[in-house]
Amino acid sequence: MKRNIFFVFVVALLLVLPQFAGARDFFKVGVITSLSGPLATGGNVTKYGYDMWANTVNSHGGIEIQGKKYKVQLFYSDAQSEPSQAASGAERLATQEKVDFVLGPYSSGATLGAAPVLEKYKIPMITGSAESPLIWKQKFYYTFGTIPPVNFTGAGAIKTLAQLKPAPKKAVILGSNDAFSKSTAETFKEASEKAGIKVLKFSIVPQGQDLTPFMSAVKVLRPDFIGFGGHDDELINLVKALHQIDYTPKALLMHYGVTEPAFIEALGKDAEYVFGGSVWTGSLHTKSDILWKDAKSYFEDARKAFGIDVDYTHAGSTAAGIAFQAALQKINAAPPLKMEAREALIKALEDLDITTFYGRVNFATEGQFYHANVGLDPLTIQIQNGKVTLVGPENYAEAKPWYPMKPWKER
C-alpha cells in the first residue's frame, strides 16, 4: 500500500513539475491553419510558409535574445476550413499547449474564428494569409496580418485594367460567399465604378457553385472583363466553365489562386492571359538582412525545399514568423512569454517597421486597416507563357499586359 502511495506521489510530481519549471530554452509557437477541408490548398501553403521560417531560424541556431539563441517549436492545429474548428484549435493551443504566440490561419473566416479566443487569452497572433477587411474592422488587439487586406490591394489590379487600351467599359463581377471572396468582389466593384467602368452585374454566389448557367447569362451581356473573388479550385472551375461555353471576355481578373502553381498546371494554356492581384512575387526587387537577402533567394530556397514556385501566401506566412522574431529581439523577450512580455510584444509589433525578403512589414495602428500590414504596394500579375508575370503598376512591371484575351480555341 505504502509503495503504491509513493508511486502515485512520484508520478504526480513528474506531471506537476514541468508546470513550475518556468524557464525553457525554446519558443512554443502555435500554428492554426486548414490542413483539411475545402481550403486545404491554401492552408497547407500557409503551413509550408511557417515551416520554412521555423526550419530556417532553427538552422541558424534559433532567435538570438541577449546573446543566447532560442529555437522555435511549432504546435499545429488543423482548422479543417471551419471557423469553429479554428476557435477550438486556438483554445487548445492557449490552454493545453500554452504557446507563446500564434501563427494564424489561412482564410479570413478561420482567422475570424480564432481571433476572439486569442483575445480572451491575450496571446498575440500574426496571420500570414488572411485578406478580408472584416478582420481588421473588428480591431482585435492581439491579431496582426502580414498580407494587406483585399480592399487595400484589390483596387490596384482594377487600376491596371483601366489603363489598358482600349480601356474596358463594362464589367461583370462576382464573388464566392465567404469573407475573403465577398470582400474581393466588393473591392473590384467599388474600384471599377471609381475607374468609370460600368458594372453590369454583381453577384455573390454560394461556395463551390457550378457557375456554367451564370456564365451563359453573362455571355449574353458581353462584358469587357469579368472579375471574380474566389479560392483556388473555384477559379479553375470558372475558367473551365468559360471555355466549355466558348466565351472569352477581353480580360479575366481574379485574386488569390492565380499565383498558385496549381492554377497554371491544371489549366495549361487556358491559364494564359488571366490577371490576378498580389503583393509579392519571386522576381520582386526586395532587400533584407533577416534570414533571406531578397525575394529571389527566398523563392529559390522554397523551390528547393518544396519543389514548387511559391506565391505571396507562402511568403507572407514566412514574413509573419520574421515579424515575431524581430519584435522579440527588440524587447529581448526570452521564452516562456509571461503576460507582461506578451503585452510588450504587442507594442513592439505595433512599432515594427522592417524590410524583409517579402518587402516592408509595418502594421497600421489605427483606422480601417488596424493591425494589417500596410507596408506593401498592390501588384497586378498576369499569367504569360506559363509564368506569373508582374504587369502593373508601371514601376514594378516586368512586361506589358496581354490584352485582349486570345479566344480559347485559338491557343
Binding site: 477541408g37 486545404a40 490548398t41 460567399n177 453577384s203 457550378d210 472551375n237 466549355q244 461555353i245
Partner: protein
C-alpha cells in the same frame, strides 16, 4: 430575359445529368443493401485521380479509361463489401447506423490518404470534349451547349438505362430485387446474398469512380473534393426517395433546373436556400421522396 429561357432549361438539364452520375450508384447501394455510404464522394475522388494519372501517363483521352476505372474500383468494391456486411450484420447496433459510421470512417481514411498521396493542389483532367460547344446565335438569342456537359448527360442516361435493364430484365437483377425486398427469403430461394451484395457494391463503387473521371474533366479535382459530392448525392437520393432508382433522374433534373433558374433569373446567392426549401417541402409532403416510393 425570356431569351435566356432555353439556356436556363438546357443548363438545368445538363447540371441534372451531372447529378444523376453522382447519385445513381449511391441510390443502388442503398436500395439493395440499405447502406448510406458516406464515402461516395471519396470513391468519386479516387476514381478522378486514377483517371487523372492514367491520362497524364498515356496522353490518351480520359473517357476511354472509363472501363478500366470501373474494373479497378469494381474489384475493390467486391472485396470491401464483405467487410461492410460484417459491420452491419453484427448483433449489437442498428445496421443502418453501423453502416453510416463505418463508411464515414472510410471517407476519412480515403480523404487523409488522398491528401498525403495526391497533395493538396487542385488538378484538372484534360479532355478533347472540354474545348467544344454548340452555339446558336440569332440576333439577341443565344444558346450554348457545352459538349463536355452533353457527354456527361449522355453518360448519365446510358448508365441509368443499363442499370434499369440489369435490374428489370436479367436474372441477376431479379436476384438483386429479391435481395432488396427480403434478405432471408431470397436466401431460401437459392440466391447467395453475400455474393449478390458484393456484385452490387462492386457496381456502385465502379460507377462512382467512373463518375470521378467525368467530374474531373468538367470541373477541377482535389483530394478534398469528396464531401461536396457526398452531400449532393444525398440530396438527390433523398429527393428521389431513398433507394428508388427510377426517381433519381427526375430528382436530379429538378435540382439542376432549380439551380440553373436561380443562377440566371434570381439572386444566385439564394440558390442553396431554394434547393433546401424545395427538398424540405417535398419531404414534408411526401417523406418517401418525390414519388413516394422510397424506403
Amino acid at each position: 430575359m425570356l431569351l435566356l429561357l432555353p439556356q436556363a432549361l438546357v443548363d438545368g438539364i445538363l447540371i441534372g445529368g451531372v447529378f444523376i452520375t453522382i447519385a445513381i450508384g449511391f441510390s443502388l447501394a442503398f436500395g439493395v443493401m440499405h447502406i448510406i455510404d458516406l464515402a461516395v464522394g471519396e470513391w468519386i475522388m479516387l476514381g478522378a485521380f486514377l483517371g487523372f494519372y492514367l491520362t497524364q501517363w498515356t496522353n490518351i483521352e480520359p473517357l476511354l479509361f472509363l472501363p478500366v476505372v470501373f474494373a479497378a474500383f469494381g474489384i475493390i468494391g467486391y472485396f470491401l463489401q464483405p467487410v461492410i456486411f460484417r459491420v452491419i450484420s453484427g448483433i449489437k447496433g442498428d445496421p443502418v447506423l453501423m453502416g453510416l459510421v463505418f463508411t464515414f470512417g472510410l471517407a476519412l481514411i480515403f480523404k487523409g490518404t488522398g491528401l498525403t498521396i495526391f497533395g493538396f493542389y487542385s488538378h484538372s483532367i484534360p479532355s478533347v470534349f472540354s474545348a467544344g460547344s454548340i452555339s446558336i446565335e440569332i440576333g439577341n438569342f443565344y444558346l450554348t451547349i457545352p459538349i463536355m456537359r452533353f457527354v456527361g448527360l449522355a453518360y448519365a442516361i446510358i448508365i441509368t438505362i443499363m442499370l434499369q435493364y440489369l435490374l428489370k430484365k436479367s436474372n441477376f437483377g431479379l436476384a438483386v430485387r429479391a435481395l432488396a425486398q427480403n434478405r432471408e427469403a431470397s436466401g431460401l430461394m437459392g440466391i447467395n446474398p453475400k455474393k449478390t451484395s458484393s456484385y452490387v457494391y462492386a457496381i456502385y463503387v465502379g460507377i462512382s469512380a467512373m463518375t470521378g473521371v467525368l467530374i474531373g474533366s468538367i470541373f477541377s479535382l482535389s483530394a478534398q473534393m469528396g464531401a461536396r459530392y457526398t452531400a449532393l448525392s444525398f440530396f438527390v437520393v433523398v429527393l428521389a426517395g431513398m433507394g428508388y432508382l427510377a426517381g433519381v433522374p427526375w430528382a436530379a433534373f429538378l435540382l439542376g433546373l432549380i439551380q440553373s433558374f436561380f443562377l440566371i433569373y434570381f439572386n444566385p446567392g439564394y440558390t442553396l436556400i431554394a434547393v433546401f426549401s424545395i427538398l424540405y417541402v417535398v419531404l414534408l409532403i411526401s417523406p418517401k421522396g418525390l414519388f413516394g416510393r422510397g424506403w
